[in-house]
């Protein structure tokens, strides 16, 4: 079975049940105080469909795609990444990320505006590992897309 067709209906049901929040105004416990709301765009970002295409193309990467032994990309990671990106594309002020992959076989996203950077790896279980470099650097794991939206939009 090819990787692209490796997701069956059972797994899709799993995504529905465990996916990251798909609205930028979701609430919940988090590691940092959140603003009352994030500003949402009137229309989804124009970059979304092109970046989703790039995410799906990650599934074509073969074993050792980096020549240092990297793993093929897990389709579940790509599906979670698409959901995450779809959520973030609705938030005003979030620019298109670089779409890449980790050697562990996960989809990954990178933002860098010269003053701060956010590197995000989306794991096959839907959790998100991130590293945020700014005046105060920090890293962590979250299931909440809103956490990333706050990092990407705070001044």
């Amino acid at each position: 079975m090819s990787q692209a067709s490796a997701i069956d209906a059972t797994e899709l049901a799993f995504f529905e049940a465990t996916s990251v929040p798909t609205t930028a105004t979701s609430t919940g416990e988090a590691w940092a105080p959140k603003p009352a709301t994030l500003a949402l765009r009137e229309e989804t970002s124009a970059w979304l469909s092109e970046r989703v295409d790039r995410l799906r193309r990650l599934l074509g990467l073969q074993e050792n795609w980096d020549s240092y032994g990297a793993k093929p990309i897990d389709p579940r990671s790509v599906e979670f990444a698409v959901r995450l990106l779809t959520s973030l594309a609705d938030v005003d002020g979030i620019e298109a990320p670089t779409v890449t992959a980790s050697p562990d076989g996960n989809a990954a996203l990178c933002w860098d505006d010269g003053h701060r950077s956010l590197d995000v790896e989306i794991l096959a279980d839907g959790s998100i590992e991130y590293a945020y470099l700014n005046d105060e650097d920090h890293e962590g794991t979250t299931l909440d897309a809103e956490d990333l939206a706050i990092l990407l939009t705070q001044s």
């Binding site: 020549s67 562990d104 590197d119 991130y130 920090h138």
Partner: protein, 147 residues
């Protein structure tokens, strides 16, 4: 074989790593320039370090030509560089581990003072620079690189 002898690596050395032509493994960072992404330089899970090569022993062209030994075309691949002192600034280390294929092979390793983490890879990535196509073709093993 003399060339497989492990050597000390000095702070002012440059080390190199291949960067795939897909997916997007490079990042233009305003104020910094063209760098590798943090994901392009990470180690594999279960491996002790991230593989690089020493410019004093291996040219960027030779590093790319090694791909052909695995049946991979080097067309479109790039090379990133980082200074050893930049790695050690973050309390990581660079260890020379020569192989029969690459006498300059080395690894970025954890130390008792610093483990690998997403933030460390992000910080290292910002210290990398992607070599220009001209640099790839003209830099010889042992050459120095300006900042």
């Amino acid at each position: 074989m003399p060339e497989l002898e492990q050597q000390e690596i000095s702070d002012d050395e440059i080390i190199l790593r291949r960067i795939p032509n897909q997916p997007d493994c490079i990042k233009h960072r305003p104020g910094i320039g063209l760098t590798a992404t943090s994901f392009a330089i990470r180690n594999l899970p279960g491996k002790k370090g991230s593989s690089w090569t020493r410019l004093v022993q291996t040219s960027p062209r030779k590093l790319l030509d090694q791909l052909q030994l695995d049946g991979i075309s080097p067309k479109g691949w790039m090379v990133c560089r980082i200074r050893v002192s930049d790695v050690r600034d973050f309390r990581l280390d660079v260890i020379h581990l020569p192989t029969e294929r690459d006498a300059g092979h080395c690894e970025i390793r954890e130390t008792p003072r610093q483990s690998f983490s997403p933030a460390i890879w992000s910080k290292l990535a910002r210290r990398t620079r992607i070599l220009t196509a001209e640099e790839v073709e003209t830099l010889q093993a042992g050459n120095q690189l300006a900042e």
